[in-house]
């Protein structure tokens, strides 16, 4: 009898060991659900970006759930607020991976935050698609489990400055940047075109993060005779700069970068913002693709969330769509290894909000196509010009 019981126990153990890895290989999956985690700045000034990106994730998830989920499993979204504080980003990512036990990660706060959290993500091996702040460190060198949707800040600035330089030959240039990593990136991109095109830079300033009064900076800009101006602020700073220029009765040809390419910015700039140029890799809401996206979003999010939509909603949507599609291709029993392999095989995935997304063997960056847009304050929109 004891022999039979021992044999049965042995058999049962062997069976459990045999099926164990398949059933409990990776966390975040039950018979009915798949968990996807995210950490974003939902409070603090950059909440404008984090909230919008999370709405994009929610739209893609709601869309997939409405279509039956991923091979029958509904997607559950676990969102943590880091307040744009790096220590809290690390804490948040550890929490969603170790406590909530999500299957995959998406979004991941700002550039400094995602850089800081990279060792945690790499060590965990969890499939991750980053979309909020595409900085080179995230894909150079490529990490096995981390994919980035977007375009680099340097490339964006280079594209914008090249466009403005070609359109305004022989003009005097001015630049102002923030005194942080973001500002350094903007300045590096700008400097590379200055050297290549021998631009005549007559004003170069930088400001402390959080500065709100730009009266002396813009007075210097005016005094320098700047004709083409790269406003290297993010959101509120660019508004303050343009309004200051309006007060000083000058209107140089002005370019801004994509973090500030959002419609409420134009409303606040008023006539001062009319005609400013911006560079981006997502579609403007004024175009057919943008309008179609808003129509798609309407039934899937709350009224308050609908108001919080901006360009970051599109980047979030596209990244979530790519991730969901990769998990889906893994069939009934998705694993981390399969999801990562399928992400790598991503080829020309259409999201409707930016150019098709592709990765490849050793390629973890989608390298999105850029376009230049111009502000039209009458319609409070940005319209493509190239």
């Amino acid at each position: 009898m004891i022999k039979h019981l021992a044999a049965a126990a042995l058999l049962l153990t062997t069976a459990c060991l045999a099926i164990g890895p398949a059933a409990a290989a990776d966390p975040g999956i039950t018979d009915t659900e798949i968990l996807i985690g995210d950490v974003e700045p939902l409070t603090g000034p950059p909440a404008l970006l984090g909230v919008a990106a999370s709405i994009g994730h929610k739209i893609a998830i709601a869309e997939a759930n409405a279509a039956g989920g991923i091979n029958g499993r509904k997607i559950k979204y676990v969102l943590e607020d880091d307040g744009y504080v790096t220590a809290r980003t690390i804490q948040g990512v550890k929490k969603v991976i170790d406590v909530d036990k999500v299957f995959a990660m998406i979004g991941i706060s700002g550039s400094g935050q995602s850089i800081a959290v990279m060792p945690v993500l790499e060590k965990s091996g969890i499939p991750t698609v980053i979309d909020v702040a595409p900085v080179k460190f995230l894909w150079e060198p490529p990490r096995k489990n981390v994919f980035v949707v977007g375009q680099s800040y340097e490339e964006g600035i280079i594209h914008l400055v090249n466009f403005l330089a070609d359109k305004n030959p022989g003009k005097k240039w001015g630049l102002i940047t923030q005194d942080d990593d973001y500002g350094i990136t903007v300045r590096d991109g700008f400097d590379s075109v200055v050297k290549a095109k021998k631009l005549n830079v007559v004003y170069s300033g930088n400001y402390k993060k959080g500065q709100q009064d730009f009266s002396s900076d813009m007075l210097q800009l005016k005094d320098s005779g700047t004709e083409v101006f790269l406003a290297g602020g993010i959101i509120a700073e660019n508004i303050a700069m343009m309004k200051e220029l309006e007060k000083l009765s000058i209107k140089p040809v002005t370019g801004i970068f994509w973090p500030g390419r959002i419609e409420p910015v134009l409303k606040l700039m008023g006539p001062a913002g009319d005609g400013i140029y911006a560079v981006d890799y997502v579609e403007p809401f004024a175009g057919a693709a943008g309008k179609a996206f808003l129509e798609k979003a309407k039934p899937l999010v709350s009224e308050a969330e609908l108001k919080g939509i901006n360009r970051y909603t599109m980047t979030g949507y596209a990244a979530a769509k790519v991730l969901i599609s990769a998990i889906e291709r893994c069939g009934k029993q998705p694993t981390w290894a399969c999801t990562i392999a399928e992400l790598e095989k991503t080829k020309n995935v259409e999201t409707g909000v930016m150019a098709p997304i592709s990765f490849g063997p050793g390629v973890r960056f989608s390298n999105q196509k850029l376009q230049i847009m111009q502000a039209d304050t009458a319609t409070l929109s940005f319209k493509p010009v190239d």
């Binding site: 000034p45 930088n206 400001y207 002396s216 007060k247 910015v265 606040l268 919080g308």
Partner: protein, 290 residues
Amino acid sequence: MQYLVQLLISGLAIGAIYGLIAMGFAVIYKSTGLVNFAQGEMTMITAYIAWTISTTVSGNVFVVAMGAILAAVLLGLVIERLVMRPMLGEPVFATVMVTIGLAVILRSAINFIWDAYPHGLDIGMGRGIVHLGSIGVRTGQLAVIAALLLLLAAIWAFFRYSKVGVAMRAVAADDRTALLMGISATKVHALAWAASSVIAGIGGVFFALSYDLSPAMFQLGLKAFPATILGGLDAVLGSGLGGLLIGITENLAGGYLGSGMKEVAGFAMIIVVLMVRPFGIFGERDIERV
């Protein structure tokens, strides 16, 4: 010359805002001996309330002004009653830490109650540009300079001639003796918080008129704090003037030394002044260090 005058006018305008917030710091310090590190956040909340009134109730300037003042009074009283009064008798360090905690809560409240977008406070005035000769100034900037000067005069008269003002000075000088003379220290404290909230709130509303609202506005408190130290932590009128000095210094530094120096200039100035007069330009000598 025109360059210098433009810098001075812009400096006076932003300095007047710093001055108003700095006066808020000083009113609380003078009455309670406490530095309120949530002053910038209280300024921001009042400005957001003014914006909400303008967009939901009425954009009429008087309605917005009265609503914002009432809201600021209420905010000050609620904070004093619910947060600060229970801390009476506790070490100063603990009480100061409570104001830091309060600052974080109020800062987060902006995103919970409102949103992270910048907003313009449009009440039909303050945004227009007037030209003084060839120098452009927003009407809101001129108005805030006038408001600061008016408030300086009003507060001087209040502390000098009104019963309540004298009672506040008595509590600040020696609260135990004031108690023996029948003055309620708790009422004086509550009044100080309400007054501080209103004065700083006026600064916030004027800032929103000239520069817009955003969740980063709380940083005005950090900019106004050097003005208070410069003018004297216990000198309400001195703090107002300290704000003007900081604003002008910042703008001149930004205009002549380079844009990177702008934010540093105010702090560099207080280091120099404090080395000579540790109690500030208009402060009293016996400041207790916390």
